[in-house]
């Protein structure tokens, strides 16, 4: 049974979002990391890149396959978790601690399209 954390928002493509002062901290859910297996590479965007809600911003690679990452919100990438370049396994170890990017949102209303923990729990199993 994968872990779903209260207070976060979730996308259908299994990213989580934590909102901090207009900035969306984005990672992938525990369900997503468990489905992928051992993650060996994280393809990150650069700071300053623009991302669009629903569009690809990078990828996680497990031994076997690659999975695209989709941004739950639009805006500018203000930070990327460079620690993951050297230690991609952090995503497996702690999916909710291993954030991937932070995005300064251009349209906070996009958050309304995301699921809360209860709704996400229904699909993450």
């Amino acid at each position: 049974m994968s872990k779903v954390i209260e207070g976060l928002l979730y996308s259908e493509s299994h990213e989580w979002v934590k909102v901090e002062d207009g900035v969306a901290v984005i990672g992938v859910s525990d369900y997503a990391q468990a489905e992928m297996g051992d993650i060996t590479y994280v393809d990150l965007p650069s700071e300053g890149d623009e991302v669009t809600a629903g569009e690809e911003f990078g990828a996680l690679e497990s031994v076997k396959a690659s999975s695209e990452l989709y941004s739950p919100v639009s805006g500018e990438v203000v930070a990327v978790n460079e620690e993951l370049e050297a230690a991609p396994e952090r995503v497996n170890e702690d999916a909710y601690g291993a954030w991937i990017i932070k995005v300064r949102m251009s349209d906070e209303s996009e958050l309304e399209a995301l699921m809360d923990a209860t709704a996400y729990s229904a699909i993450a199993k």
Partner: protein, 380 residues
């Protein structure tokens, strides 16, 4: 209203046709991630691909490979017949010895790659890929005209385990209680007999680049051995790490590196095609390819970045010209670098050639290196 019928979906049809091996219940009990492979519901991983991969490199792992096919050939013309359909040369092959090679089409394309076991009494055992059993069997029957041979698809009778890794010899010796098994040489086999007279074949072969054994036996014997090996500390391994291991060792997978359009000459496997044999199906085409050169060759490419090249990704020159395609690629677990097999225009196949792999939106530089990425540890 009582629901008495359901609409059958495509998924139902697929589920129904999926075969299982004699260890299917064991896989489910271990919580394996299962996936369809070659028409079988097979375990992809148990504890994780990296963990299982490392167990085989450093200790011992056991794979259920009962899906593989076993085809028996016997009769007065068995040797000339096998030599007719097989690229390697079985003339004079001693009983208890094994050869690797291919069955080819007349144009040099590959029907399948396989192992040929020279039986102690008479005839041969051919071990073929699970996905190709029916195709191979038909091909063999279709090409048997004029030969006095009996060809029998015995795949349903046999289960198979691959026990691989530096500690596999000890584990095998402990299980069978036979110290003689230490003497088994690479690409040879012993016939064992169980208490009821049942046949067990133990060969020193494998698909991982490590020392190891493959054991063919009845489903009952296979289940007994599986349980005993796990009890003894041998790690259950799935098809996920079977692929990462064989890839690092430079071994081809039918469908990826060999196919009806990828000949042994293109794949760099000419050493398993004895072109000095009097005849075999595909010989003329392979001779011509050898003499005139082939348009595309299989190479190894090492990337200078950790991005992972996957099957199907394009291989390019610096100016963006597409010159090939990745057939298998990983971030190598044992070597900690991103490497792949790729089929590329022969002009760019020399060691040291600079090639680029397109991964999603970006292009990553790489260099052609030897295909045997990992130094194998066979017992010779």
């Amino acid at each position: 209203m009582e629901k008495r019928y359901k609409v059958r979906t495509f998924d139902d049809a697929m589920d129904q046709e999926l075969k299982t091996t004699c260890l299917h219940d064991e896989h489910l009990a271990l919580g394996a991630k299962m996936s369809p492979f070659a028409g079988f519901d097979m375990p992809i991983q148990y504890s994780g691909i990296i963990d299982e991969h490392n167990a085989v490199r450093k200790a011992a792992g056991v794979f259920d490979v009962s899906h593989m096919g076993e085809i028996l050939v016997d009769g007065p013309d068995a040797e000339t017949y096998v030599n007719h359909i097989f690229t390697n040369d079985v003339r004079g092959l001693e009983p208890g010895h094994i050869l690797y090679g291919m069955m080819c089409y007349p144009d040099g394309g590959v029907v399948d790659d396989l192992l040929v076991y020279k039986e102690f009494e008479s005839g041969f055992l051919l071990v073929v890929n699970a996905a190709n059993i029916d195709k191979d069997y038909k091909w063999m029957l279709d090409n048997a005209e004029g030969f006095q041979v009996e060809i029998f698809n015995d795949s349903e009778s046999w289960g198979q385990l691959a026990v691989q890794g530096p500690a596999s010899e000890d584990a095998i010796v402990r299980y069978f209680g036979l110290d003689e098994l230490r003497e088994l040489e690479f690409y040879t086999f012993y016939d064992l007999e169980d208490e009821d007279g049942g046949r067990i074949i133990v060969s020193r072969t494998g698909y991982t680049g490590e020392d190891g054994f493959e054991v063919y036996a009845s489903p009952d014997n296979i289940r007994d051995m599986w349980a005993a090996l796990l009890e003894d500390g041998v790690k259950p391994c799935g098809l996920g790490c079977r692929d990462t291991l064989r890839f690092e060792a430079g071994l081809p997978l039918y469908g990826d590196e060999l196919s009806p359009v990828i000949s042994p000459v293109m794949a760099g496997l000419s050493m398993f095609c004895k072109l000095d044999k009097p005849e075999f199906i595909g010989k003329d085409a392979l001779l011509k390819q050898k003499a005139e050169g082939v348009a595309r060759k299989l190479v190894g490419i090492e990337l200078k970045d950790n991005a992972i090249p996957r099957a199907g990704y394009p291989v390019e020159l610096e100016d963006g010209t597409e010159v090939g395609v990745v057939t298998t690629g990983y971030h190598s677990i044992s070597l900690d670098k991103s490497i792949c097999f790729a089929l590329v225009d022969s002009a760019y196949s020399a060691l040291g050639s600079n090639l680029f792999v397109r991964i999603r939106k970006r292009v990553f530089p790489g260099e052609v290196i030897k295909k045997r990425f990992y130094k194998t540890n066979y017992k010779k």
